[in-house]
């Protein structure tokens, strides 16, 4: 697993042993196909073609906007979950955090000005992550159980803090337009987060330590990695990203909904991460893959809704498609690996 990590970081070199040179395009193509995310990216592109062929409204401007708006929150949350999954942990509460943070923004907005309210809410959210991390790391409760507890805690808090009633979203301002109000602001944020997290994971020490903690906890600890700090830090990072996604969703739909987020979003994000190539057991993962995994899931859901599939058969078709897409992903991945000399 650490070996795979170094493979991603090192340069890919499609050397031709018999001396015949490949032209630049073929070399680039081979290099791209070598990357582990290639398989899921290929699946995403195939799905795009399929849905566009079935319904030419799929790639209309309005629907692209719809795709961007329904997928960005999952993408952002998936990034945070990838970091945790690599460490060997999981955060089930991130969906409830998505509903929690906008409520804190709403409450803080009564006291402070909006930008300060956002900062306050994100700080409170990071404390949720801190709680998750401390209980998991120091009290040695498995993260599944810890975050299950915080999931229920936050779900209950969300309803009590708002008396079950949806509250109005913050008034429109430049900041709200940046934070989800503008039609493409969400997807731009998602792309920025994906880029930054990818750099964090692959180019910075934090990412290396995260892989180390996930790959070999004892070895990493012996080697001097601050294991506890890495885990707690990743929990906080995951929660803050969930909170950010939650604020943007609340602004987008113009309502602070106590029932927002929830386990479904968390499941989708974990699925996106796993579909993208992150191992559930820990030790390896990819942010770019999680982004394409989110794309696959979003395209499937949006595409089938656009095609007119009704709720009762929707889940059947979605389930079958996910299985097929994943099988394809695994086989293309295997092909990629057998292609190595």
């Amino acid at each position: 697993m650490a070996k795979q990590a170094t493979e991603e970081i090192s340069k890919v070199d499609p050397v031709n042993t018999d001396g015949r040179g490949l032209n630049g395009v073929a070399r680039l193509a081979t290099a791209l196909l070598r990357r582990r995310e290639a398989s899921i990216a290929l699946v995403a592109i195939l799905l795009l073609f399929y849905f566009q062929s079935v319904n030419d409204a799929f790639l209309s401007q309005g629907n692209i906007r719809g795709l961007a708006q329904s997928g960005y929150a999952t993408a952002i949350i998936a990034c945070g979950l990838v970091m945790l999954l690599i460490c060997g942990e999981i955060d089930l509460s991130v969906g409830s955090v998505m509903g929690f943070t906008p409520i804190i923004v709403y409450l803080a907005d009564q006291e402070f000005v909006f930008p300060v309210a956002v900062i306050v809410a994100l700080i409170v959210t990071s404390l949720v992550g801190l709680l998750n991390g401390v209980i998991t790391v120091y009290l040695r409760v498995p993260s599944f159980v810890t975050t299950l507890g915080t999931l229920f805690l936050l779900t209950g808090l969300n309803v009590s803090l708002t008396d079950g009633f949806p509250k109005p979203a913050p008034e429109e301002s430049t900041l709200t337009r940046i934070l989800g109000g503008g039609p493409y602001s969400g997807i731009i944020w998602a792309l920025i987060v994906v880029l930054l997290m990818h750099l964090l994971l692959t180019r910075m020490r934090w990412g290396l330590h995260t892989f180390a903690v996930g790959g070999n906890l004892v070895g990493a600890s012996e080697a001097g990695v601050r294991v506890n700090r890495v885990k707690i830090g990743n929990f906080m990072l995951c929660s803050v990203l969930g909170g950010l996604a939650g604020i943007m969703e609340a602004i987008r739909i113009n309502s602070v909904d106590p029932l927002a987020g929830g386990p479904n979003v968390m499941f989708l994000a974990v699925s996106a991460a796993v579909i993208g190539g992150t191992a559930l057991a820990g030790g390896s993962g990819t942010i770019i893959g999680a982004f394409f995994g989110t794309a696959v899931l979003t395209i499937l859901r949006n595409g089938f809704t656009l095609q007119g599939v009704s709720a009762n058969t929707f889940n059947i078709i979605l389930g079958i498609s996910i299985l097929v897409a994943m099988t394809l992903n695994v086989y293309v991945g295997r092909l990629r690996r057998t292609g190595r000399t």
Partner: protein
């Protein structure tokens, strides 16, 4: 290893001596560093076939639904007196798509669309009252050029924008079952459903009539939820307006049936002098009826009533433990919107939509027999099309 040179030889696919061909054989194709084997090729064909089968699966699953697609396509033959129309594609957006309460609604929209010769409307939205999913579904319907949208407006703020966007795109929008904070709160063309506040008000008047004076409790599953809160508001206002000496309390019970039952029982145990127990949602109504039965409160003169037609509720009304429940006719909440949107489309927007109150029918021991004895599409418990005889 192989003695035959892969593709370059006279097309032999099987290689003697082993399944692998040397990588140098593929150099002209640019795949110098991959190895293809028969096994890999077969696998890839299988996987490719599996991917290619998705569209056929989707089409097969859609066939029984009449295959709704984005945008009006071919036209249907004219039905009745109506002219030939395109295959109007209507979309119903719902907050709890798989909740059994809406099964009659689905039957209603199926029957209406069959009558009008248009494809069955798409039934989509969220399974868990997730407003974001509902908004996404509405936006997808707009991008897909739906011909009409019916939406349960469970959140005024969230749906205001999408409804206006749909109207701006020339798509008529009606609301059903829930209407946000009422007429004028969103730009929807009409509401088809129970007059929530009005029905609560009628219930309040009935409470005043039945109970007269004393402590009364009003149970609500989740306060603030926009398809039930107006009912309790109406009841409270009616009681206050009447000036009757009734002290009433509004108590939340929770969203799930078992916890509602526990909450109601706990309340009763703490308030044994209550003279009337009423509820404004299906689950709490059943809970009240069950507590009335458990402690035999009807015989002691306690009055009770509620909403919706859960089978247990109907049975207990028949047995005399509860005085009434209120039917909002979910079948009509699917049936009428289809007609309204259809007439709106064929009249070019001049006609079609109208505020429609689907129900304030008090179901009491006098008329409950019909509901109990029959299973029908209209109540959602049977799929068969048949004519029902009125109960004797």
């Amino acid at each position: 290893m192989g003695t035959v040179r892969g593709w370059a030889s006279g097309g032999a696919l099987w290689v003697e001596g082993g399944p692998e061909v040397g990588k140098e054989d593929f150099a002209p194709l640019g795949f110098s560093s991959s190895r293809f084997s028969r096994r890999d090729l077969l696998r890839r064909a299988a996987v490719g076939g599996a991917v290619a089968s998705i569209p056929f699966l989707a089409a097969a699953c859609d066939e029984d639904e009449g295959g709704g697609g984005g945008g009006s396509g071919d036209s249907s033959a004219s039905v009745g007196n109506f002219p030939e129309t395109p295959d109007y594609n209507f979309v119903f957006v719902n907050h709890v798509t798989t909740n059994p309460f809406f099964v009659p609604t689905i039957y209603g929209l199926q029957d209406a669309s069959a009558l009008l010769g248009i494809p069955e409307p798409q039934w989509t939205g969220s399974e868990t009252s997730d407003v974001q999913e509902m908004v996404d579904a509405m936006n997808t319907a707009v991008s897909g050029d739906a011909d009409g949208i019916a939406v349960a407006v469970v959140d005024t703020e969230a749906f205001g924008g999408p409804i206006q966007d749909a109207l701006d795109a020339g798509i008529p929008v009606v609301s059903y079952n829930a209407d946000g904070t009422g007429l004028g709160s969103t730009a929807r063309l009409a509401y088809v459903g129970q007059d929530l506040y009005g029905s609560g008000f009628e219930m309040g008047k009935r409470i005043v009539e039945d109970v007269g004076e004393g402590p009364v409790v009003l149970f609500i599953a989740t306060p603030g939820q926009l398809n039930i809160q107006p009912r309790i508001d109406g009841a409270a206002d009616a009681i206050k307006e009447s000036g009757a000496p009734i002290e009433f309390e509004e108590i939340p019970t929770g969203a799930e049936l078992p916890e509602e039952l526990s909450a109601i029982e706990a309340y009763y145990n703490g308030h044994k002098d209550v003279k009337g127990m009423y509820a404004v949602d299906a689950g709490s109504t059943q809970g009240v009826a069950q507590i009335m039965e458990k402690f035999d409160l009807a015989a002691a003169g306690v009055k009770a009533g509620g909403y919706d037609l859960l089978p247990e509720t109907l049975q207990l009304i028949s047995d005399g433990h509860m005085d009434f429940t209120i039917d909002q006719q979910p079948y009509l909440q699917g049936f009428y919107p289809v007609f309204q949107l259809f007439v709106y489309k064929i009249s070019g927007g001049l006609s079609g939509v109208a505020e429609t109150n689907t129900g304030l029918l008090f179901v009491t021991a006098d008329n409950v027999a019909g509901y109990l004895e029959t299973e029908s599409r209209f109540e959602g418990d049977a799929e068969e099309q048949k004519i029902l005889e009125p109960a004797t």
